[in-house]
Symmetry: C3
Subunit: 137 residues, 3 copies
């Protein structure tokens, strides 16, 4: 059982790929055989996503579509003290994932050919987000 | 490998925090070291959610937003025999999570500062819901 | 730790139950005691879902509701080279699950009475989808 923490640098809303950070951490753990890698985000206004990492236009459309579904300044919101992007961010996080479980073989993630691991930042936030990474085999 | 079942008492639609029930169960298992805690809900009209546990207004807005997105009595529905809240509940459960995976350290959940674990009841239901809890290390 | 790959035959959009394929694979592994079964889909235009397996009308409504929420030919889309069903499929996959974690007891999945495991095909696709299945105990 190996446990670590990744810091993902984000520069505003959108999908930030960090597949290589996960792979680098796994390499440093010298794991062998099959196993399970779990990712968990310690925030409630950003989330985790497995998505296509081939064509960037798919990520742009995902972001724009979700922003249209969950707009800022919706009169429904009462939770507004932390800014107009805060409540939409909680809703977007609720509609996507807080944790991902990815099987491993020979210490490597069994991702599909076109799959990448993304942190989906839902706030107009520049800084770092924390993702716990754990592997068991 | 420890396995248990939690009963979460719900009093109608909304977000019911049960972080303390999970922590109490983990304490009773005398786990040490790092590990993984998995939660799984045995129902398809309620779901699991990690959300902010600081300001209750965020939960109210989440509930109201999802009720507006997935209203009762939509003429699209054909699955109506179990009442007007049943089909919306299945859709809401599909858009949120059935299982959550949370890493542990020293036998404690590695939740972020403001994160709580919630059962999201989607029906006008009073009673108990079953969540399977499992820990491995 | 047991690791396998399931091939799910799909015949167009919709919910394809594969609970029995998972059970058959688990039976072939001769697992005992409690444990955890993880399912991971190696695609980004199909997803995994736990849903009611009693009344087929619930699945029809789920499919129709999501198709209305995420229609084809939305002028918002720029990722259109792979056909009108491709970008909606990525969005639908982002709103549902890539991985599921299901606790086991005596080598059997601890599903609720009415729960089935589904692959949700989001494209007008006929063929096979790959799901990685893993069990640890």
């Amino acid at each position: 059982m190996a446990l670590g923490q990744l810091e993902i640098v984000v520069q505003g809303q959108g999908l930030h790929e960090f597949t290589e950070q996960v792979n680098s951490w796994l390499d440093s753990q010298n794991l062998f055989g099959s196993g399970l890698c779990t990712l968990f985000i310690q925030h409630t206004s950003a989330s985790l996503l497995i998505q296509e990492n081939a064509d960037p236009s798919a990520r742009v459309d995902l972001e724009n579509w979700l922003n249209r579904l969950v707009p800022e300044n919706d009169p429904l919101y009462t939770h507004t003290l932390e800014g107009p992007d805060d409540m939409p961010a909680h809703i977007k996080a609720a509609l996507t994932a807080s944790s991902l479980s990815i099987p491993m073989e020979n210490g490597r993630l069994l991702l599909g050919t076109w799959q990448g691991i993304y942190l989906w930042e839902h706030r107009h936030h520049q800084g770092k987000r924390r993702v716990i990474v754990q592997a068991c085999n």
